[in-house]
């Protein structure tokens, strides 16, 4: 899970990394995904959760999830 577990995350979507001093903002969907990742859920499980939580088609959610995780990787967060 990389750095994810060390991050301080509040419900407004503000994320702070105490080790590097970096901060990030995420929107509601982003926060939802990050919380699931911290629970060690797989991408398939998260996708399932997204479809239950949000009014979104599987195609779009799947594409966005993959895209979001790549973005987290680019920040070195996962």
């Amino acid at each position: 899970m990389g750095r994810l577990n060390q991050l301080a995350i509040n419900d407004e979507g503000f994320i702070f990394d105490p080790l590097t001093g970096e901060s990030f903002t995420v929107n509601r969907t982003g926060l939802f995904i990050i919380k699931k990742l911290k629970e060690n859920k797989s991408e398939e499980e998260i996708l399932e959760d997204m479809l239950n939580e949000f009014n979104v088609s599987k195609d779009i959610a799947e594409k966005d999830l993959i895209d979001f995780i790549q973005k987290l990787k680019s920040y070195g967060l996962v």
Binding site: F24, N27, D67, K71
Partner: protein
């Protein structure tokens, strides 16, 4: 009930979070739902995407604003429409209706102006490559010939002699007006005395009369003082010529170069701040005229303003075709228009507007065109909210140099429409198909596969 979905976004908070205008760059976006009251959706559903859209109203307004800035300060002003900037017939016709001459730089552009109904006497023929047959037609038809080099003096003289007709000509000058790089490859240099040599040679000819001076010191000139310098040098030279050779310089053509409200790559300030208002240019130029002209002398002032007139009157509507995540974390969008249609993307950073409200935080994004070419980038660093496939992006200003320097490369060129003053929409250049591209090709008999 399920919650409303918004694409997931994470953005790193940088120091200097707020920009200097006090709004969060994370939520700033520009929305445009119509052009001159015609909705983007209607335009695309009728004419397809990508789509160039020219506003007749904005074109005329811009011309009038710029023309009036000069005409209200000096009694003898004439504009020449620089064809190379945008030679779509509809654009040229609007500007000719407004009173502009045609300024052309090749036989092809000359032919275009004539075919549109412009008489030779209303055409300024510039450029370093006037082929003899083109030059002869222009001389016969009484065009204003602006001589670029010594070979051309001799060419014009020979043609004049053959036609048994004395010909009025102008010469193009180049000079140090403080602009870097100095455009020294066109015309005769002032400071080295080359221009004076050209005048001497013209004075020796019994077929040539010098009646005008021309210069064009560069393009996208952000300093109005450069024009003051140019005008001062041209007027002084005009009097030197008049006093020593007995010619009357009837007009001084100071060329183009006034910037449009576009953003040069690598500049920080928005164009509304970095580009001086047109009145500053008009003020400097006419001030320089009045302080150097002799009392009662008002030679015609010709301007060949190109981009400043047409750039802001045209938009390109594109559609987001796909998106991907780059290894460095940036979001990339593939649009249906790229550098094939937007030649000026190489030096401009366009204004990008979205056709709809989009939820979500902005993230650093890149806009690619459709070409299978690494250089096909329209914007390599723009903050955009997450965009759904099918979203339309509107680029502007794109009126200058794109409809002339676009390439038929890999893709067809799309429709160009003009929104008329009454809000009807006319196709002014129909989208291409295979017949346009292959009309000139010949397949040798033995290579035929069918």
């Amino acid at each position: 009930m399920k919650k409303i979905y918004e694409k997931p976004v994470i953005t790193k908070v940088e120091t200097g979070f707020m920009n200097k205008f006090g709004e969060s760059p994370l939520y700033h976006r520009k929305i445009r739902k119509d052009i001159d009251g015609v909705s983007i959706e209607e335009l695309v559903s009728r004419f397809g995407s990508p789509l160039f859209v020219i506003s007749e109203k904005q074109l005329r307004n811009k011309y009038r604003t710029i023309y009036n800035a000069f005409a209200s300060r000096y009694p003898n002003v004439q504009f020449g429409w620089s064809y190379k900037t945008n030679y779509l017939k509809a654009v040229c016709a609007v500007l000719h209706q407004e009173g502009a001459l045609a300024e052309v730089v090749s036989g092809f552009e000359y032919e275009k102006a004539r075919k549109l109904g412009i008489e030779g006497k209303d055409i300024i023929f510039n450029g370093p490559h006037k082929k003899l047959e083109d030059l002869e037609i222009a001389i016969r038809e009484g065009a204003k010939i602006h001589i670029d080099h010594f070979d051309e003096i001799l060419d014009v003289e020979k043609i004049a002699e053959r036609l048994g007709k004395t010909v009025k000509v102008a010469i193009r000058l180049n000079m140090d007006a403080g602009i870097k790089p100095q455009w020294s490859r066109f015309g005769f240099n002032l400071e080295t005395g080359q221009a004076l040599d050209a005048v001497k040679r013209i004075a020796q000819s019994s077929w040539l009369i010098l009646n005008g001076l021309h210069a064009h010191i560069g393009t996208f000139i952000l300093d109005p003082n450069a024009y003051a310098k140019e005008v001062e040098k041209m007027v002084k030279f005009a009097y030197e010529v008049e006093d020593n050779f007995g010619f009357k310089i009837e007009y001084i053509d100071i060329g183009g170069g006034i910037p449009s409200k576009n953003k040069l790559k690598g500049t920080y300030l928005p164009p509304d701040i970095s580009v001086p208002p047109i009145d500053d240019y008009a003020e400097k130029i006419t001030e320089a005229l009045y302080s150097n002209l002799r009392p009662g002398d008002f030679p015609k002032l010709i301007l060949e303003t190109g981009r400043a007139i047409v750039d802001e009157a045209e938009y390109l509507i594109t559609t987001v075709f796909a998106s991907k995540r780059l290894p460095d974390g940036r979001k990339a969008y593939i649009c249906d228009a790229g550098v094939n249609l937007l030649f000026t993307a190489f030096w401009y950073k366009f204004n990008v507007e979205i056709d709809r409200e989009v939820y979500g935080v902005n993230e650093p994004s890149v806009l690619y065109g459709p070409l299978c070419m690494n250089i096909d980038i329209i914007d390599d660093g723009i903050l955009l909210p997450p965009l759904e496939r099918g979203t339309r992006l509107i680029f502007s200003p794109v009126g200058a140099y794109n409809n002339t320097q676009w390439m038929q490369f890999i893709e067809y060129r799309p429709n160009v429409v003009m929104i008329m003053e009454d809000r009807t929409v006319e196709v002014v250049r129909e989208k291409e198909d295979l017949t346009d591209i292959e009309r000139r090709e010949r397949l040798p008999e033995k290579l035929k596969l069918l």
